[in-house]
């Protein structure tokens, strides 16, 4: 009886040990495969030039259109998400601070919204585009991606804001400041580290998402100059080039995957670094 207990425990500990380390292994394996395959195909020419004639049959050129396009799209969408999301997050945590029930209901709805897949946003963005009379363009892409990332931004920012003690707000009110001044100068400042994390999280999601821009952003070999031009994105450039039967074109898909993964890693690392740095200003 006694020995069985011990053996059972050893067995479970062994299994769970393997399970935990296998997650790290999976990440390393994935990064290894993507980088080892892609770095061979990566060159300055691939990153810093536009597709030239016969590019999709293995001709000269690079993926600069997709890199810059993705960047434009994500920056635009993040700006839009900040304009809608930051005031909403502040509203939940300042004006609604006494209404715990309402706060919880809103958080519940936002969490549920977080789970909606991006292809649904893409289809909705397409319907919205037809309604507004737009065609597949940078603007339509920005609107769709903004819809996708705003709930993420708000919820991530809100997670930090809700830890700020009520007393801090009360102190601000007692000194005669309005709700707006409290929200922007006290609460926003206090949650700055969280804001940066949320911003980068949303930006990263925007840069990596393919399904939502599939219908709405179009695809082009050029870098868009105005908002109503179509725009290429990195995920779609990977997706399209990988389905090519020509080896050189597929090689570039691997190179593009390295570029995209590198951006995501960079965003993740800088989010950690910056949120630590700005956390120093917080009044405890």
């Amino acid at each position: 009886m006694r020995t069985w207990k011990v053996w059972e425990q050893r067995l479970v500990k062994g299994i769970s040990f393997l399970a935990a380390y296998s997650v790290i292994f999976i990440l390393l394996f994935l990064l290894f495969v993507v980088f080892s395959k892609g770095l061979k195909a990566l060159s300055w020419g691939t990153v810093f030039s536009l597709p030239k004639g016969g590019y999709y049959f293995g001709g000269e050129g690079g993926i600069l259109n997709a890199i810059v396009g993705s960047f434009y799209l994500s920056v635009g969408a993040t700006v839009l998400a900040v304009i809608i999301g930051v005031p909403a997050a502040l509203f939940i945590n300042v004006q609604l601070i006494r209404l715990k029930r309402t706060q919880n209901t809103i958080r519940y709805l936002l969490d549920a919204l977080w789970g909606i897949p991006s292809i649904v946003y893409g289809a909705f963005g397409f319907a919205l585009m037809l309604l507004l009379g737009l065609h597949a363009s940078l603007l339509a892409g920005i609107i769709t991606v903004a819809l996708l990332i705003t709930p993420i931004l708000v919820r991530a920012f809100d997670e930090v804001l809700k830890t700020i003690p009520v007393e801090l707000q009360e102190a601000s009110f007692s000194l005669g400041s309005t709700k707006t001044e409290t929200a922007l100068r006290v609460i926003f400042k206090q949650g700055l580290a969280g804001f940066i994390t949320a911003l980068l999280l949303a930006f990263g999601r925007g840069i990596g998402d393919a399904a939502s821009v599939l219908f709405t952003a179009g695809y082009t070999d050029n870098i868009p100059v105005t908002l109503d031009e179509p725009v290429a994105t990195l995920p779609l450039s990977i997706f399209f080039q990988l389905s090519s039967p020509i080896e050189e074109v597929r090689e570039r898909a691997y190179a593009a995957a390295v570029v995209l993964t590198f951006f995501i890693l960079l965003i993740s690392v800088s989010a950690r670094f910056l949120s630590k740095r700005y956390a120093k200003n917080i009044i405890k």
């Binding site: 997650v23 909606i116 289809a123 909705f124």
Partner: protein, 295 residues
Amino acid sequence: MNRIRRITDILVNVWMRAGLYLLLAIPVLIGVGLYWKAAPIIGGHSLSDLLFSRQWFPMKGEFGFMPFIYSSAYVTVLAFILSAPLCLFAAIYLTQFGKHRLLQVMLPVIDILAGIPSVVYGVWGVLVIVPAVAKYVVPLFGVVSSGYSLLAGGVVLAVMCIPYMLNMLIEVFQTIPVGMKEASLSLGATHWEMVKHVIIRKGFPGILSAFGLGIAKAFGETIAVLMVVGNTLDISVSPFSPGYPLPALIANNYGEMMSIPDYDSALMFAALLLFVIILVINLFFRYFIHKTEKI
């Protein structure tokens, strides 16, 4: 001065309120928008026909979504079977058996895994999983397959679900009071008995929710699955045959949807279907989590 402050206060207030209302209106807008675009097909066919018919001939105006729903369910269940036990054991190890340092290392790992775009998982699937299925798994069963199969889709999805489920499971296990664990240990339970009888039992609603949300996540995943699943219209029991999940249907056919009558509204119906199923699952399990968080 005072007046300016008051006006700013009012204006910013309006802005904040507008932001929040817009945000809360998104799900309603999505539902209404998709329904509006899908209305022609919902009006023209009976709902049971759309959901349960196997006849998919857009040119003839026949839209049976059964093969797509079947494929979606198949890869989702497969992904769940592969990832759920792994996540559960990993979460137990990280929160109960392992050192605290390991958890500190693990959280960024989970973050990065969650942040890696779907399309990169797709590339990985094409490079690793598809050839592995074709070369090593298929010969064991004596069948022929290109590797682009439901199994490949399930494996890639399983990997994508790991950070999502694992993160939630860790949070669930961390909310269980230490006193409860100590009480169990002080009565002479081994570490594992404590986990079995206290952690898992107490965290049961949370575990269920994490699994449920993982399933919802897998159900809606598009690009990565699309890249490895083969996209062939077929209802087959074998995991080695290709499938065609709902999100892949939408993503694959956006180009030609304007040329065939009712095709665009069929695709919008597929999106609406995904939206409703996933929203319902999410609302249901999130409710559990919010209940347990408040305690």
